[in-house]
């Protein structure tokens, strides 16, 4: 038993037990399990790429990338431009990604450059740089020269809408791609395949020479230098990858959610992603695809199951409270571990 707890890790054990209790309650309260599983799969696919964005950052040694909003903003701009040109369906999705990726690469490059001058304070600084960018972009959303009636307020009011509906453009294109039912559970095949594709690319990359040197630079700087690895360059590379993944991640998230959320919505977006990968067993220095999958599945399942169960037994805002406590609790746990051991 002790062995099992040790291998599983204390936080994962607690969350697993909590999840099982909630599931049992859900069965007892006669909440449809197949609906829950469908939701779990969708929520997993929606969030997994944003969580995946944490991996290159941690591997390259910049820790948790609290500046995820940077990539998210790039993704939002991509999606907005594609809607402005009235692109729909898969074309809209791919054009969004096509516009977002170079933007995110430039942003990630500049941010990575900056991170190299502030070693050791990446997380605190990243957090506030992220907040600054989000609040600066609030002004941009107000002034941006978009014309499409989908994007701006119908009458009166300045600037872009707070939430932009994607119903007439690219809502659910990935979710519905090759989707099929098992019993009453719907499998969002396209969504899961797309995540699998990106995860596969990240995994393959980490197996190549270049990926390995990035990992070495992240885990042991001195050793990396003595092996002739340019640590600064590797860190920039990790930051760019993380930012690009965040940009793609928000586009996939939004098409599944059905809305683009502008203004202050991206402010705290790094928190759930950070929490998910840490729940999956990553630490501030070590992360891989398995952590992403386990973490996102556990964290999102918890949220999906908690919502209806708690709605029945108590106030509606309780599931939000649980989300806040669990996600910040796990980040806190990881931050206070000696030498960045696994959470």
């Amino acid at each position: 038993m002790k062995e099992l707890i040790h291998r599983l890790g204390f936080p994962r054990l607690i969350i697993l037990i909590f999840l099982i209790c909630l599931l049992a309650l859900a069965v007892y309260l006669k909440i449809s399990l197949s609906d829950l599983v469908t939701d779990m799969l969708v929520r997993f696919g929606m969030n997994a790429i944003l969580v995946l964005a944490m991996v290159p950052g941690i591997q390259a040694g910049i820790g948790i990338n609290f500046n995820l909003p940077l990539g998210i903003i790039c993704g939002l701009i991509g999606a907005l431009i594609s809607i402005e040109f009235k692109l729909t369906g898969f074309l809209g999705l791919f054009v969004s990604i096509l516009i977002a990726v170079p933007l995110a690469s430039i942003g990630g490059y500049l941010y990575g450059k900056m991170l190299n001058t502030i070693r050791g304070q990446e997380m605190t600084v990243g957090n506030y740089i992220g907040y600054s960018i989000v609040s600066f972009m609030c002004i941009f959303w107000l002034l941006a020269p978009f014309k499409s009636p989908e994007l701006i307020w119908a009458y009166g009011g300045n600037g872009l809408r707070v939430t932009v509906s994607l119903e007439s453009s690219m809502a659910h294109v990935l979710n519905n791609f090759l989707a099929f039912n098992i019993g009453r559970v719907t499998i969002p095949t396209g969504l899961l395949l797309f995540f699998a594709l990106l995860a596969f690319i990240v995994w393959i990359y980490s197996q190549t020479n270049k990926g390995l040197s990035m990992k070495v630079a992240g885990s042991n700087e001195k050793f990396a230098i003595s092996n002739g690895i340019d640590v600064d360059k590797q860190r920039i590379k990790g930051t760019i990858m993380s930012t690009v993944l965040a940009a793609i991640g928000i586009i996939v998230y939004s098409q599944s959610f059905g809305f683009l959320q502008l203004y202050n919505a991206p402010l705290y977006s790094a928190m759930p992603a950070a929490a998910a990968i840490l729940i999956g067993g990553a630490s501030l220095k070590r992360a891989n695809i398995v952590h992403v999958i386990i973490g996102t599945l556990l964290f999102q399942s918890l949220l999906v199951v908690a919502l209806p169960v708690i709605n029945v037994i108590s106030e509606g805002s309780m599931s939000e409270v649980i989300r806040v406590i669990v996600s910040n609790g796990i980040i806190l746990y990881a931050l206070t571990r000696e030498g960045g051991k696994a959470a």
């Binding site: 609290f66 900056m114 001058t117 502030i118 070693r119 050791g120 304070q121 997380m123 605190t124 600084v125 957090n127 506030y128 740089i129 907040y131 600054s132 989000v134 609040s135 600066f136 609030c138 002004i139 107000l142 002034l143 300045n158 928190m271 108590s314 106030e315 805002s317 309780m318 409270v321 649980i322 806040v324 406590i325 910040n328 609790g329 980040i331 806190l332 931050l335 206070t336």
Partner: protein, 343 residues
Amino acid sequence: MIVPIIFLIICIVGSFFTGLPFSFLFDEMVIRLARNLVLVTSLILPVITGLGLNFAITLGAMAGQIALIIIANYSIGGIKGFLLSILISTPFAILFGYLVGKVLNKAKGKEMITSMVLGFFANGIYQLIFLLFCGTIIPIKNESLLLSTGVGIVNTIDLANIKYSLDKLIPITKYPIATLLVSVVLFIFLHFFLKTKLGQDMRAVGHDMEIARVSGINVERTRIISVVISTLLAAWGQIIFLQNIGTLNTYGSHEQVGLFAVASLLVGGATVEKASWKEALIGTFLFHLLFVISPLAGQNLLGNAQIGEYFRVFVAYGVIGLSLVLHAWEKSKSKTKLGEIKE
């Protein structure tokens, strides 16, 4: 001193465009200084002790609000109610400060990000207690404090009972003389406190933890005491703040406390390692001047008040981000210089 000068210029130019009469601005600034100074001052000791900016003063603010809710429950008003709430908040603040100090001792080198996440985490617990436990586990006498369901505290609590109880204690002018006096006394206390053995220990720990340890200072204990005092001042500061505002936003009043206090201190020219009452005073003045004028300046300059609103949020985040970047940058530069000398 470059930061306060830049802000002074922005403020002067901005106030030119608002067209507000000087007397209005002066009154507004006196009131804002009175209600914010104690909160901003609460940040100084952790900076001196080397913990950086203590974003976890949110917990202090919560302690203050807990006391105010208890006061409201028994409908105690006037200066008696005010003093009683100060008294009640004290044990809570000391307990919270002790816990924060314990956690931050486990996260040396990452104190700022940890204190921030700790603030979010505590906010979750706070919501759990006041949304779910109040009215069920914790009995509430005053039913007007409870939501219509009988569980959970209402979103806004009217503090009319203790409104202006400190501000108008010395009713000589229309200005809050007593509150300003409290701030001055606090500054003097802080000045002499830093000359005591404990104050000197804090400086030593802030300067170099290892040297302090070798010279026989109990580093962990000193850091905890510093955080406890900070949290305590934040609790009292929040009560002073809210007796001026007059309404307690149960789930929101504490959220921005850390952000605005930290931004104020930094605008005054403080850094992560250096802060005193002067920076607190200058910074609070400049930051709140900007706060007052930016919506109007935005309205008059760009024809949109919302731009000004977003601009001041951007300034709050941006000034924190920028000063963290500059500080970390200078630190890493001086580190490499030291490294070169050693070789």
